[in-house]
Symmetry: D3
Subunit: 208 residues, 6 copies
């Protein structure tokens, strides 16, 4: 009996040789609109599906008193093509993740320490604002502006999860002030005062 079943096993296994249950990112291969190329299955190990990079607190010794550590497909290759990714937020007292969007994904936030005030703004300009406590979840629909600020006097920590292995991250301030877009064009397209723009360009390293 063993022999016969083993024959069957081999048949099935060989038919599965090319089955693509997953596509661990080969960061050196060509990319397509669907994501990174797949690493050869023979080189894949469990470590491709495990990520330890979000275990430790990020460095919050910066002006926003916060850090955002991504676990996208580029950092966590096992996620490639699976429609999921993650990030860790550390917010020191007074810490802020400024207004930003994820162009390619919706987001769910889970507070694991402290408490975080978060909001998103809809296309109709309505603000959906709430203070989220430890163990609570909040969802931010795809592409909409949102922010997170620490709501307590000690460190808060959250993990966020995205509906894409490549959600993108566009921080509005950086998009407006941390490049060489001319002050004149920023002024024309934001209604902000010239002095305000120049001040923030100075802070964020923008030119023009």
């Amino acid at each position: 009996m063993f022999k016969l079943l083993f024959a069957f096993t081999v048949l099935i296994l060989s038919s599965n040789a090319s089955v693509q249950d997953f596509c661990v990112a080969d960061l050196k291969g060509p990319e397509s609109p669907a994501g990174y190329s797949c690493k050869s299955v023979t080189k894949v190990t469990v470590n491709d599906f495990v990520f330890s990079g979000l275990s430790a607190a990020g460095n919050t010794s910066n002006i926003i008193k916060a850090s955002v550590s991504p676990a996208f497909a580029a950092q966590f290759p096992g996620l490639n093509g699976l429609g999921l990714s993650a990030a860790r937020l550390d917010l020191a007292p007074g810490g802020v993740v400024p207004f930003h969007t994820h162009p390619g994904a919706s987001e769910v936030l889970l507070v694991v320490q402290g408490s975080i005030t978060a909001a998103f703004v809809s296309s109709a300009n309505t603000v959906y604002l709430k203070t989220i406590k430890k163990g609570e979840l909040m969802v931010f629909p795809q592409g909409l502006l949102h922010f997170q600020v620490n709501a307590v006097g000690f460190n808060s920590v959250a993990y966020v999860f995205f509906s894409s292995s490549n959600p993108g991250l566009q921080i509005t301030d950086f998009a407006l002030f941390a490049n060489d877009l001319s002050t004149k064009l920023v002024e024309a397209t934001t209604f902000l005062d010239e002095a305000q723009i120049k001040k923030l360009k100075g802070v964020l390293g923008g030119t023009g």
Copy 2:
């Protein structure tokens, strides 16, 4: 022969009775994540697939000297579920469509009159800026911040097309200043000065 073939015709037609080639929006039915409910095929006419609302120039007698007229599924029901929509931009001299995103779609712009300076900013904060002339196209990838400004001393007109029948439109200034999000939170999450925020809240009708 006619009779036999006619029998065949009837067979095929009846099998097609419920074929869903399209799903013209019934704006009064329930909505799903995939879009509006479908109008009964028996009530659909060619006029559901034609839209005249973008023929005339929009009103540019406003502070941005510009107008944006949408032809999304809500205005043009034949688009529902087909992965496409449109809008018309009219830009008087000095006219500007301020920084904005479309949370759910990529966009292609076609200039049909005049000339328009447009740009988008990538997640890496790089600016892709160009002046587009009549008959030229520019594409804005999904969810990224972009703007359009008139580049000539007379009216410019463009049509834009989206990769969704419901692309959304979030104008950054309106999202930040045209609602009741407190000045304190806007300040914390944008790095803008309080005076600047209050000024723009005043202009855009925001409170708090």
Copy 3:
């Protein structure tokens, strides 16, 4: 200026009146293959986007010494159509989430307390097994068999996130033994011994 800009605001807002940034589940409306019907935007509040049901530990006083608390679209309506959902795992000492699949989603697991030994099995029958510590992530590709067991002598807690607002959950033991599928057919299709099947049917409430 205020007046003119306000006019523009109204124009834009009205054009956005029907924009569908999100589709909060109306659990009483018709369902479609894309998910639940959308609740009217005028009835949506921030509470639709926040979920507190995973804050407290689940009850682990059961045979598996574990609990799985879902936050799918049915529990957390704001997720509907956004391609994301979540669940909380509580594992007492000796606790086990038995072999199961999610037919419609990939999963990322985040350990927030203790340590969990988890594994998935690929189509080629390879086991990807690892003990995940607090703050670490593991991904389980869509539809593949996987399990989680507590790896420490005290309570472990994890949150899992899915790439669908309706991932499904099929626990293999329940599918095989907790219904009226005849012992004879279970025997024929699993190679398990009759006595074993009858024993587990007894435990899990199956008949036949």
Copy 4:
């Protein structure tokens, strides 16, 4: 032990109460771009997932000596939203399924009796033509023109499967000649001679 596990069972089952493993078509509910509404799970039986309508030969006593019997979601409600459908082709000697397309799906053909000559034409106008024998498969990529003709002197039978539960079916001759599109416009847009058009309009019941 039974009691405790039973409690766990109930917990899991209740959390699954709203899980949408499938969406059997409710043909009387509203349709969305994603398909038909879902029948209540409590009313679903195994018969919704089984279809007997393709067991018997179709009637080939017609001019094309062939019949096409669909099993799309409208006929076979269990397919709704699952990305699959089927049809049966019966081809008497000399039987032909004329040039047609499926606007919304790719197709795989399986010959179960006789032999069929089939072809599709690519966008580059290349013809991919082959005679398919019993037990062989041929694939027709989405939306491309293709046909099937009986290659033997007795009845041939094939089953075809589509990558959508609503693939559509547009037979070119019927689209051109079986409606009220004016002969003049057909002539202008097909380069066919007026006499030819009028002849086929006559056969197929077209007017104008």
Copy 5:
């Protein structure tokens, strides 16, 4: 402050190094079912997102008195993977774009000069016919047969936009008559007369 924020900037930027906001086509790399390979971001410039090839009128000195100029991903690499593409139609007096389909996309047409009579035919063989004036839009659902003819005595110009960066284009006449499919098979699968087929094969360069 500058220093600290700059540190934060660098952190964010480096995490974004591999973010894939877009996938400009590298026409020499391998293709996948999702489209062309992506050009290295370091080689991408704004010119990849701008296309001037549709600015000038196409040559209408041909038998159909019309020209179709595509801006698909192969011509306009910035569109790759973004779910959009375009084409320009020039129609001299009497000009016609003959019956055709786009196997992979829906289409929206915008008339920018003159007036165009257009129609599509549904799976139920219903004709949706309308004369579209300058500034008006018409939508053609995916995969369905449609045509456009000039409705005025001077040149008409339209731009069309597709819901895919690779919509395909299959002109029915070319598919039937511009290749080596035998006259006998064309006759059998179209019901056209042999003489008619041979005449059009002659005109269009077909053989067999």
Copy 6:
């Protein structure tokens, strides 16, 4: 006239040179989450779209008295990216395809000889069981456990079709017992007795 039209033909053909109607798998190129790389169109022939490997009966001289012969994209390259694949089931008297899932696809089964008893189990642990006769279809929703057993005293044959060119196949017994997952962990995660597990590991070649 010929000359002019031919010019038009050439224009259209050249614009189509890069159209991707299909993406025949190049099994040696890089894979992406969307599937295999595309073979050069110039090397594609009709044989890429035809598959003869399911014409002959599979070998049922094994313990399950059954065989499963796949025609996935790895075996039938023309299917790559088209959202379809197939397999042939041969069931000798007493033959069984044991409980299994397809992680990435729904399935439709067509019986072409004999009669087959099949069932799937939903997330709510409901069994949908039916004996399917020649010419009948049964659908198995994505990712759910299902099986097929011969219902007659002679050979039964079925063809199954999947909603993906890469559906995957995970046979529960092989996933549990045909690898090196320790008996202790299998016991903990399945509730099966140690003796039962060791017996099946022995039969299926598992270790540990």
